[in-house]
């Protein structure tokens, strides 16, 4: 859902929006933020508040991809990556050490490396990030329990973007 539609003469292009939503669905995107001049679109799919979820609810999250578009937050758009600042006290973020595409599982159809509730040590591989056709195994680098998964398989992630929250 769009937070803001452009003022003035440009029509609100529903066809384009539909295409975008379909693209999000087929690629498993959860969050798209586009801005050009005055125009700003923010779309979000899937469960709204990952952080407050209880483990049982979130185990099947990866297969909720076909779920309808969730209502977008009415709050003003925040810059990408700043979600980290809302981390609950005591939780530690596992951040992306590179830019690329996030994969939760070693290959399609296989179970995810970790899910909410998984116990990890520093060496536990928690995901793959593909950069230039190379699949980089990402270790947790902390000891603890996965409290939240902040991205979905197929998501583009940037350097430093929080991927998981861990309760140490």
């Amino acid at each position: 859902m769009a937070d803001q539609v452009p003022p003035g003469d440009a029509p609100f292009d529903l066809d384009k929006l539909k295409q975008l939503v379909e693209m999000m669905e087929s690629h498993g995107l959860t969050d798209v933020h586009l801005r050009r001049g005055d125009e700003q679109w923010r779309l979000r799919r899937g469960p709204r508040e990952v952080l407050h979820a209880v483990p049982q609810q979130y185990a099947p999250a990866p297969i909720q991809m076909a779920a309808p578009v969730a209502p977008a937050s009415a709050a003003p758009a925040v810059p990408a990556g700043s979600a980290a600042s809302s981390a609950e006290a005591g939780l530690i973020d596992i951040k992306s050490p590179t830019v690329g595409t996030f994969y939760a599982a070693p290959s399609p159809g296989e179970p995810a490396f970790v899910s909410v509730g998984s116990v990890v040590t520093g060496e536990t591989i928690v995901c793959l990030i593909e950069a230039m056709k190379v699949f980089n195994q990402i270790p947790a680098e902390v000891n603890g329990t996965i409290a939240a998964i902040l991205v979905k398989s197929g998501d583009a992630v940037e350097f430093g973007q929080p991927l998981f929250r861990v309760r140490p």
Binding site: R36, V99, G100, E130, V134, F159
Partner: protein, 448 residues
Amino acid sequence: MFQRILVANRGEIALRILRACREMGIETVAVCSEADRGSDYLKLASESICVGPAQAAGSYLLIKNIISAAEIGNVQAIHPGYGFLSENEHFAEVCRSCKIDFIGPSSEAMGKLGDKVTAKEIAKAAKVNLVPGSDGLIESEEAALEIAARIGYPVLIKATAGGGGKGMRVARNDISLKAGLKQAAVEAEKAFNNAGVYLEKYIENPRHVEVQIIADLHGEVVHLWERDCSSQRRHQKLIEESPAPNLPQAVREDICKAAVRLIKSASYTNAGTVEFIVDKDNQFYFIEVNARIQVEHPVTEMVTGVDLIQQQIRVAAGEPLPWKQKGIPCNGHAIEVRINAEDPDNDFRGSPGRITKLRVPGGHGVRWDSHVHEGYVVGPYYDSMIGKLIVHKPTRVEAIACMKRCLDEFIVEGIKTTIPLLKRILNNSAFVEGRMDTTFIEQQLLAK
């Protein structure tokens, strides 16, 4: 035409490219390091992606991360700006292998011109003058004297393995040449384990003159006239202008034509700069090609009216050049000064910090290209340039007057800048009279 481009740079030139794309209706993906994240200029991009830490080696210089950003950003082309990966032959090659257009020359052309020996061969084939010299190592004292007689004194004795001025000495007659050869060989042996030396004509007080060219993918090459960048401090350009003052019209045309010949014979495409040194008799000698857009491109834009960044993008997308050589004017006179966050009282060391107050001049004939603003924090990670101030007036005298009033208006507080030095240069008689060479700032203004 491209629908979406990634800008693989930061700061002023990233902003310059983002602006060009917005005017062309092209979407943009900006990359940033963690240090630049949240910068105002990134808001002009359709999307921005953090590609690494503040250190450029892990972000702006890391090919893998830039390419990944291009892939997840779904772009068709990458504009590298200047610096960083802009002249990295391998990067241009990787772009091609990933089916992303690199907005610049081919990696082959970059490679040929990046290699000194090949570049010299290309210049020779194109009948473009090189600094005369021994064309190889000096075999004997007699050979050296013969060469010196041919190219004329003064000559420069250079170590073939040298660098950084080591093993270099000037000889002004046969006697000092004989002595110098021996000393240079000993020094070179000591410093580089290689006693080989060669001779080159020593150009005293040279001017730095460069020619802007642009070439499309269909074999058309044009020049956009020359720039004088002689106002330097330790090989760092401080002030650039177009046209070059006190360069006779016939020489201007010759130097521009020479640049076009060279670019054609290198099968070079997109924008590039052919650098020359010019001696007191207005003889010019090819030095090298900068295979990218340059910091000082705006002075060329002002006198020709051509938007070079937009033109780079159009050429990369396969469009033919929209004009022939005759259609490119050179109107009036443009001067650019680089405003750097440097401390003139401390050997021009970088002066990072928060800009607490900023008043930028404006008005008739004034252009300001900068990503900074009041409250911006100049970090210690990247080069110190915080903006480029460009003026364009009918004559050089008026352009200087305009630049002086601009610098008088300029207020930057919180960091030190090169503005006081720039003011002194603009009041220096050698500069005012157009008698600059690459040494005058250090010799006349900075000598202790």
